[in-house]
């Protein structure tokens, strides 16, 4: 699943789909954290809290990324990565 996310990250051109690939990557990491927490260290809860923080960071990241995407769309009227190649104009 992690590598599926990376595949999406590499092949997609649309900014929103890249964001979705990032979500898939974060989710796979979360699943790994939880599984190891449950089966290798069931007496601690470290993995769970890390997953919690990862989810919070992912939410913040998605909000900021979507704000940036909307701003880019307003300026360039496209969200293809290859068309957005000017930093400032």
């Amino acid at each position: 699943m992690f590598f599926v996310g990376i595949y999406g990250f590499l092949t997609r051109r649309n900014l929103i789909t890249i964001l979705m690939s990032v979500e898939i990557i974060l989710n796979s990491v979360n699943i790994n954290f939880m599984a190891f927490n449950r089966y290798l260290f069931p007496n601690k809860l470290d993995g769970m809290f890390f997953s919690l923080f990862i989810i919070a960071v992912a939410a913040a990241e998605a909000a900021v990324a979507i704000a940036i995407i909307i701003n880019i769309y307003r300026r360039f009227t496209t969200i293809n990565v290859e068309d957005v190649n000017e930093m400032k104009f």
Partner: protein
């Protein structure tokens, strides 16, 4: 096979299939819906592992919040029936090669490593324990990351509002605030 195993295989299959569909589908709205399926079955996995709180957080935050946000931004920025042009064959080939090599490496490492099974009793997860360890300053406390994450959330929200609000093209965040 126990029912637990059957459920696990079901969830895992759903996750893998729909995540592949989500990154390869050429209609963007469909791919968002596939992402929703992936997130929901992930929370099913958490329920199977007895982390009820995290499963609920996953359902509300990811499946409820982020997917709605993504769908909104899709509707704002593109036409529903828009299709992507197919990705170049060379790009697909090389990405797939790199990804498959990485996946094989990871799987081989996991299968080689000898995980030692524990016999320790499982810590039960209820709201009281979660709240206490989130706010305690003891050895097992998470007060510092908790505070850091709250500051990060505030900063992200302010940044998102400042970025997305209408302003002159050359104005940065601080300039926009000063102009008011």
């Amino acid at each position: 096979m126990t029912p637990n195993q059957i459920m696990f295989i079901l969830f895992a299959a759903v996750i893998v299939v729909f995540s592949i569909l989500a990154v390869t589908s050429r209609k963007i709205l469909r791919s968002a819906i596939f992402l929703l399926f992936v997130l929901v079955s992930t929370s099913g996995l958490y329920f199977m592992l007895n982390f009820q709180f995290l499963a609920a957080v996953q359902l509300t935050l990811y499946a409820g919040g982020i997917v709605v946000l993504i769908i909104f931004s899709i509707l704002l920025t593109s036409h529903i029936n828009m299709k992507f042009e197919p990705v170049g064959l060379k790009k697909v080939l090389f990405s797939a090669l790199a990804v498959i090599a990485g996946a094989l490496l990871a799987i081989i490492t996991i299968l080689d490593y000898n995980f030692s099974a524990t016999t320790k009793a499982a810590q039960e997860v209820n709201m009281r324990i979660i709240g206490k360890s989130l706010l305690s300053t003891d050895y097992n406390g998470y007060i510092l990351p908790f505070e850091v994450i709250s500051i990060l959330l505030v900063a992200a929200m302010v940044a998102a509002i400042v970025i997305a609000k209408k302003g002159g093209p050359a104005s940065t965040g601080s300039d926009t605030i000063k102009q008011k």
